[in-house]
């Protein structure tokens, strides 16, 4: 009796990997994550239809239309400043959340927490540096974005109101940066904020009241630290996100970015 031997050659590791990859790409779970047209789907081909689906069938459709004006993708026009401001906001949120794990907003602990974050937390110094320099960079990029928009006359009809929202966002960026400045609770933070809030006290009529509410007292102290911490990590980011949403929505409703000149 002759035994029949399967003439199938043994699969190499590479082929097995490829087969596994193919079955993963075709699986229900994979297809449930990546919607039709996604570049991560099995059998994606570069066609105008699929290029449209990439945007239309993804969360990005909330941010970008399927097509944009050809001149709008010229880097020399926008210098990516608005997009980079938003990206820095995201980067600051991520690094900020990391920092929150190691920080207590009390006069007794704050400085010590930063000190030990820098010396005994893995990547602590690195993340703090990125948060600090990213914040300065964001103030700069928002400012330059405003200058760019002004010089292109992009605030003109129908974009007047979006410019107003942009000015509000610039103010919010400065407030975010300024409230964060106090949190390390070192000599630099304390006295920079002292100078800044002294100026605020000179507002006519409501000056001293505003100052009292912001400082949680007549002078900077432990209450100020807690107040500014809450403003920095919760209130101002929350308000900023709302205005960002309106800002981006209006960019699309007003017919995409301005120009060409």
């Amino acid at each position: 009796m002759a035994s029949t031997i399967e003439e199938k050659p043994r699969l190499t590791l590479k082929e097995r990997g490829a087969a596994l990859g193919q079955s993963l790409l075709g699986s229900q779970a994979w297809n449930s994550i990546f919607r039709p047209g996604s570049i991560f789907r099995k059998g994606y081909t570069d066609s105008p239809r699929n290029r449209s689906y990439v945007i239309m069938n993804s969360v990005l459709y909330h941010l970008h239309p399927v097509k944009v004006k050809r001149h709008a993708v010229k880097v020399s026009y926008t210098l990516c400043l608005g997009g980079l401001s938003f990206f820095l906001f995201i980067l600051l949120t991520v690094t900020g959340i990391f920092l929150m794990f190691f920080y207590r907003p009390t006069a007794a602990d704050a400085w010590q927490d930063i000190q030990s974050l820098q010396t005994s937390v893995t990547f602590g110094l690195m993340v703090r540096n990125m948060h600090r320099w990213g914040a300065h960079l964001m103030v700069l990029s928002v400012f330059l974005h405003m200058a760019r928009v002004f010089y292109h006359g992009a605030y003109k009809a129908p974009r007047e109101f979006n410019w107003v929202i942009g000015v509000i966002l610039l103010t919010l960026t400065l407030l975010l940066s300024f409230t964060g400045y106090l949190l390390p609770w070192d000599q630099l933070a304390l006295w920079a904020v002292a100078v800044g809030t002294n100026m605020m006290g000179y507002s006519p009529v409501i000056g001293s009241q505003v100052r009292f509410v912001l400082l949680g007292g007549t002078e900077i102290g432990a209450e100020t630290l807690l107040r500014w911490y809450v403003l920095h990590v919760l209130l101002f980011p929350f308000v900023t996100v709302i205005f960002l949403a309106i800002h981006f929505w209006r960019v699309r409703k007003d017919g995409g970015i301005s120009g060409p000149l």
């Binding site: 399927v66 820095l88 540096n129 974009r159 920079a192 507002s203 000056g207």
Partner: protein, 247 residues
């Protein structure tokens, strides 16, 4: 398949009868009208319009292009209008009346990959820059806050140093509140005050120079406040006395 309602069938039958009655009459007029897919009365109208140069019925020139093929009822005998038509033109909807049709087509590209690719590269470059900068330059952390020891000089964050610079010249209410407040309000109302509709740089020389002067004014104040102010916030030269500035 959809069933054809009875009243439509009746109407089609009536139209067929009418066409059969008329066909004898139209055949005598000549072959031209029956060969064409365009109803005879429309042809006549368009001929009249062409003859009269600018006729008021120019719409009738091209109704045939707007006619869409109606679903032919499978197997059922269908009625034929004048000239053998199986459907009638009910109305012509001009483009632009219900759709927003752009008069000039805009040159557009797909967001993917053109815009998303640029955004991805820009964000990577930004992250890389920030990472490398943070690798080499540490954020300042001075000694713990001490209420009894005022550093000399005490400076605000750099973006407020222009205001602090103004404090040396004006009363605090002017320098700290009135001037920046007015600047912010003027900035907010810029689009409503600038009545010039053009965005061409050559048409906006006044606004461009106004903004440049404004920006330079603050930039110079910030630079003086940052680098040219030493102990007691007195004027110094950074190359003579060093820099009194922390980011």
């Amino acid at each position: 398949m959809t069933e054809i309602p009875e009243h439509l069938l009746k109407r089609a039958q009536a139209a067929r009868d009418k066409a059969a009655a008329e066909s004898g009459a139209s055949a005598t007029e000549g072959g031209e009208a029956t060969d064409s897919r365009i109803p005879a009365h429309l042809l006549e109208r368009s001929k009249a319009a062409k003859a009269g140069a600018s006729g008021g019925v120019a719409v009738a020139d091209r109704p045939a292009t707007a006619v869409v093929a109606a679903p032919a009822a499978g197997g059922l005998p269908t009625g034929a209008g004048p000239g053998g038509h199986t459907q009638r033109l009910l109305t012509v909807v001009k483009s632009g009346s219900i759709q927003d049709v752009k008069a000039v087509p805009v040159d557009k590209v797909h967001t993917w990959p053109h815009l998303l690719g640029i955004e991805f590269v820009a964000s990577l470059a930004c992250t890389a820059f920030l990472f490398m900068f943070s690798w080499f330059v540490n954020a300042p952390l001075l000694r713990a806050a001490n209420f009894n020891q005022t550093p000399n000089p005490s400076k605000a964050p750099w973006y407020f140093l222009g205001l602090q610079e103004l404090l040396t010249m004006f009363h605090p209410m002017i320098a700290g509140v009135t001037l920046p407040g007015m600047g912010l309000i003027a900035l907010m109302f810029a689009p409503y005050m600038d009545r010039n509709p053009s965005n061409k740089p050559e048409d906006r020389k006044f606004m461009t120079s106004l903004m440049t002067v404004h920006l330079m004014f603050w930039a110079v104040l910030v630079i003086i406040g940052s680098f040219f102010r030493g102990p007691g916030f007195n004027f110094t030269f950074p190359w003579r006395d060093g820099i009194f500035f922390e980011l």
